[in-house]
């Protein structure tokens, strides 16, 4: 690159809608309110009180839940004297034999690795900001990765999948929920709460101000 370094423009007074490119003057809404795009209704700025501390707390909760839910049984079935309990790890390894092992890797990534990676990235980016320190090296790249991984984090879809699987085997055998099932259920709520607190505009600005 031989170009002269570019200067960013009006970061504190202009904002473009990421979905439709409409340009606005920044007016930071009151805590708890949201500024949305007038043409496509995308949320642009949504400050929440104490957001960063709550995000850090929820990330830690999330990590604890995923790690402990991983190996505990989450569903068990019995029929005609036979019994089987399955953990999330077993579900991931269901495809492990033969050419379908790639699917095992994909399922493991979508329901465990990506959600956990997103939580670790959140801690890496947000925790220093919350505690008044400078952002860690490459925090901007970490936050960018966190945002682009969002559609690939499918823990909540997996939990709903449990419900459907349950209906399918209900007349084949007796099914019971294990501890991990309830943990994953709580996890879904935690993820929703955290998404709701995450205001990308504020975090990007904080990353820049403290750098």
């Amino acid at each position: 690159m031989t170009q002269t370094p570019l200067q960013p423009i009006g970061q504190d007074d202009l904002i473009a809608c990421p979905s439709c490119d409409a340009l606005y003057h920044v007016r930071v809404p009151q805590v708890g309110e949201r500024a949305t795009c007038a043409r496509c209704e995308t949320v642009l700025i949504a400050p929440k009180s104490n957001a960063m501390l709550r995000i850090v707390a929820l990330s830690i909760t999330n990590l604890i839940l995923v790690v402990s839910a991983l190996f505990l049984p989450f569903l068990s079935i019995s029929r005609a004297g036979f019994y089987n309990a399955t953990s999330i790890m077993d579900a991931i390894l269901a495809f492990a034999q033969g050419p379908m092992f790639l699917l095992s890797i994909a399922v493991g990534a979508l329901i465990v690795v990506v959600p956990m990676a997103r939580m670790l990235l959140t801690l890496y980016v947000v925790a220093p900001l919350e505690f008044g320190a400078a952002p860690l090296p490459r925090a901007a790249q970490a936050f960018r990765l966190f945002e682009s991984l969002k559609p690939w984090s499918m823990a909540e879809i997996f939990v709903l999948g449990c419900g459907i699987a349950l209906v399918k085997v209900a007349d084949l055998a007796t099914v019971d929920f294990g501890a991990a099932f309830w943990m994953m259920g709580v996890l879904v709520v935690v993820v929703l709460l955290q998404d709701n607190l995450m205001d990308r505009w504020s975090i990007w600005r904080a990353l820049e101000k403290r750098a």
Partner: protein
């Protein structure tokens, strides 16, 4: 306020970074964003090609996903392999019509609708597109958000197969194994998601019919 009254970053000679939203002068096109490192582009015009490439890959995987069995069930006395549609019909025969309908809608109707919606959005983009969409930019944007939101939920079928295969392992009494369609179905979902993500939704608004009613029609 009419939609045409809102200026875009492009109108003002600015580029917003697609990832972090920071605004840069138009001369920065194709160089990395100074804040997050993402390559700046005012409109990702090349993205339509990627949309179609992933779309086609998704469609090609979707065909075997419906022809091959998704689940293989071994019971004491019987062995059966069922495709997605056969599975739904079986459940309907058991008398669970609502659940059969839910499965048909989630695994057959929604994927089809997704392919149709992405094709429609890509074809209606001006000036590259083939026709002028009758729906307003606002409606098409809502359609795009819906496709982006629903796309990932199709993965639920693959998770159900994984759960059932891990759970139902009762030696001789009953056991379930994944069929080859599980792989192609998962690939189809992933490719369709990539197709929708490649789409640059800012282009929906560029020459929206409400904003430029005088644009000349393309000859079919």
């Amino acid at each position: 306020m009419t939609q045409a009254a809102i200026p875009t970053a492009r109108d003002k000679g600015l580029i917003a970074c697609e990832r972090c939203g920071l605004l840069w002068p138009m001369s920065g096109e194709h160089s990395p964003c100074g804040r997050c490192g993402h390559k700046l582009s005012s409109r990702n015009t090349g993205s339509i090609q990627r949309v179609w490439a992933w779309w086609l890959a998704g469609l090609m995987c979707y065909i075997p996903a419906n022809l091959y069995p998704m689940l293989v069930t071994d019971m004491l006395t019987s062995h059966s392999a069922s495709t997605i549609v056969q599975g739904a019909i079986e459940i309907a025969h058991h008398g669970d019509l609502p659940i059969a309908l839910v499965i048909l809608i989630a695994s057959v109707a929604i994927p089809f609708a997704k392919f149709a919606a992405v094709a429609y959005l890509a074809l209606s983009i001006r000036p590259l597109g083939r026709f002028r969409a009758r729906a307003s930019a606002h409606r098409r944007h809502q359609l795009y958000e819906l496709v982006e939101y629903i796309g990932r939920w199709s993965m639920i079928d693959v998770f159900v197969v994984a759960i059932l295969s891990a759970l139902v392992q009762l030696n001789a009494a009953a056991s379930i194994h994944p069929g080859p369609a599980a792989v192609t179905f998962a690939l189809s979902v992933i490719f369709t998601m990539l197709s929708a993500q490649a789409f640059d939704s800012r282009m929906i608004w560029d020459v929206s019919p409400d904003a430029a009613p005088t644009l000349k029609e393309e000859t079919p």
